[in-house]
Symmetry: C2
Subunit: 367 residues, 2 copies
Amino acid sequence: MDLHEPVTPFAVLDADKVATNVARLRGRLAGTGVPLRLHVKTAKSVEVALMAFDGTPGPIAVSTLAEAEAFAAAGFTDIVYAVGIAPDKLTRVADLRERGVDLVVLLDSVAQASAAAKAAVPALIEIDSDGHRAGLAPDDPAVLEIAGILPEVRGVLTHAGRSYYAYTPEEKHRVAADEVAHAVRVAERLRAAGYAAPVVSIGSTPSGHTPVELTGVTEARIGNFVFLDLVMAGLGVCAVEDLALSVVATVIGHQRDKGWILTDGGWMATSQDRSTAQQKIDQGYGLVTDLDGVPYPDLLMSAASQEHGVLSVRPGSAAELPDLPVGARVRILPNHACATAAQHDRYHVIGTGSRTVRAVWPRVRGW
Amino acid sequence: MDLHEPVTPFAVLDADKVATNVARLRGRLAGTGVPLRLHVKTAKSVEVALMAFDGTPGPIAVSTLAEAEAFAAAGFTDIVYAVGIAPDKLTRVADLRERGVDLVVLLDSVAQASAAAKAAVPALIEIDSDGHRAGLAPDDPAVLEIAGILPEVRGVLTHAGRSYYAYTPEEKHRVAADEVAHAVRVAERLRAAGYAAPVVSIGSTPSGHTPVELTGVTEARIGNFVFLDLVMAGLGVCAVEDLALSVVATVIGHQRDKGWILTDGGWMATSQDRSTAQQKIDQGYGLVTDLDGVPYPDLLMSAASQEHGVLSVRPGSAAELPDLPVGARVRILPNHACATAAQHDRYHVIGTGSRTVRAVWPRVRGW
């Protein structure tokens, strides 16, 4: 099968780029001695996860119990469910644990800890290192109160949400260093109080790519790096050439007086993620490349409805609209790989510069 | 089953509200004599479509061939594929036609018309009534050129994209009247040139709810009205109480100093649609109600990551944050029903004011 054959729109994965992205991150982590815990929420693909671990299941983080169940069925037994646990979900967690999966939950409240205790499920305590989402402040007395309730204090977990807004090397370093310092400090408090708390889990793709002292950290929970995206390129984490995921769409018309090319790839295919609108360079709904992955100069997917995409030249650019007739196929590089991938049930897998589809890999869906 | 049982997040459909919304639109159309062609892209549900037609298949519009195939399998035989045809897709169209389905395509170029002729597929010519998407200008000479190529000129189709930006009754009326006038005028040009062109298809949910003279129109292609959403409420098309779709999420934590309640419903469950940000009242990622559908005063889903939602009081409001403990379930009313529904594979169907799940209805996915 060739990239001209599947019905558009569809998701394409450049496995060569995935391999390069994996090698780069693993090279960096190797220098620190901290092992990777792959966050599978981006790719939601067993095949991609196996690429990150040389073909054998390794430690993963999941964003849904559907992921935990699917990856457990594929032989992954070391799993952190990295979203604060809803008490109702502990039955499913306990079911997986009974099947030999070391599935650990995350929490930051006494109510959750009591439920985890009742279900005999070990937990990580979530620490808020930068005010961006969930978690307890490092000095919150509730940390020890929760530890006292839990059946097993596995350790602590932080997510550097602020890293997605860190543009300079100094700011990136500060965010990553804060994340490490806060996590390690809470683990030390727990150990001083008599809890083993062996795990200190940090993670975000930008901080994972930032050289920072990781003493005391026991795992780096990173996911987006397998694909990367325009947000990561905008943050300086990677180059546009590193992006492994794209969406193939077909030209279905033109509005020549407006400088528009219309495609059959709307937001149903790309998602509505517009995160680059908050960055220095707004990439619209994505950058447009030819079917071989070579970008057209300054051509953006500038607007979207459910099943229509509008391609046009970046405002202010002198680039000319390429001559793309009805039926021509293009690829759209995504703002946010997690969101774009989520719109698809499978990946059509290619190599760099090749249009031959080597494989079709399914994705996990739902909750 | 009760709304407390399914794993959150999940989509809930209030079938009583669907019935009321259907009755309201059909009442309006009955007064005009113009039949409904239900656009199934919003609900993507055979069961919802059957509600719109008293239990027997009626004329529909689809946004993907996957919808056409699924609805054809359920007995729907009168189908318009209302996205400009990509020539590669004509094989699948012709396959459905051979199975007795009157599937008609849409196009606005000579290239598409030549491909339709080769595949012997009838087509509607797309007319651009307000500059918002695809289609030919009503006076474009290409209209007759295309008609000359087609094996069968079924008629014309317009979509009033501008109606999503029409806030006053006067502006709504102008947009709807323009849509009708342009479509009818082109049909008359075609008939004067000797083509039957029996179909004059207009459609958008706002214009479908606007009283306007429809002489010459043969069908109204409307979809969103079955569910309605906060964008439609913001346009004055409906009240918040009319919204039939919502997403149930569970409280998983708090950041009390920030005034945040955290839930397990992130953008994966609601979509990233933020269309109300362009309206007078920005509803964040949606309005929050209790499990019975009663809104909490001024409580919004104000931020989202993949599997986390943040609930907080609308800026400037004097409302207090409700006391929602870990484990409590809430419902989120969506900005854009088409986008939110697309994040889910099924609907849990209830009646107004009831928490009993009457049925689980699947949705069509993919392309």
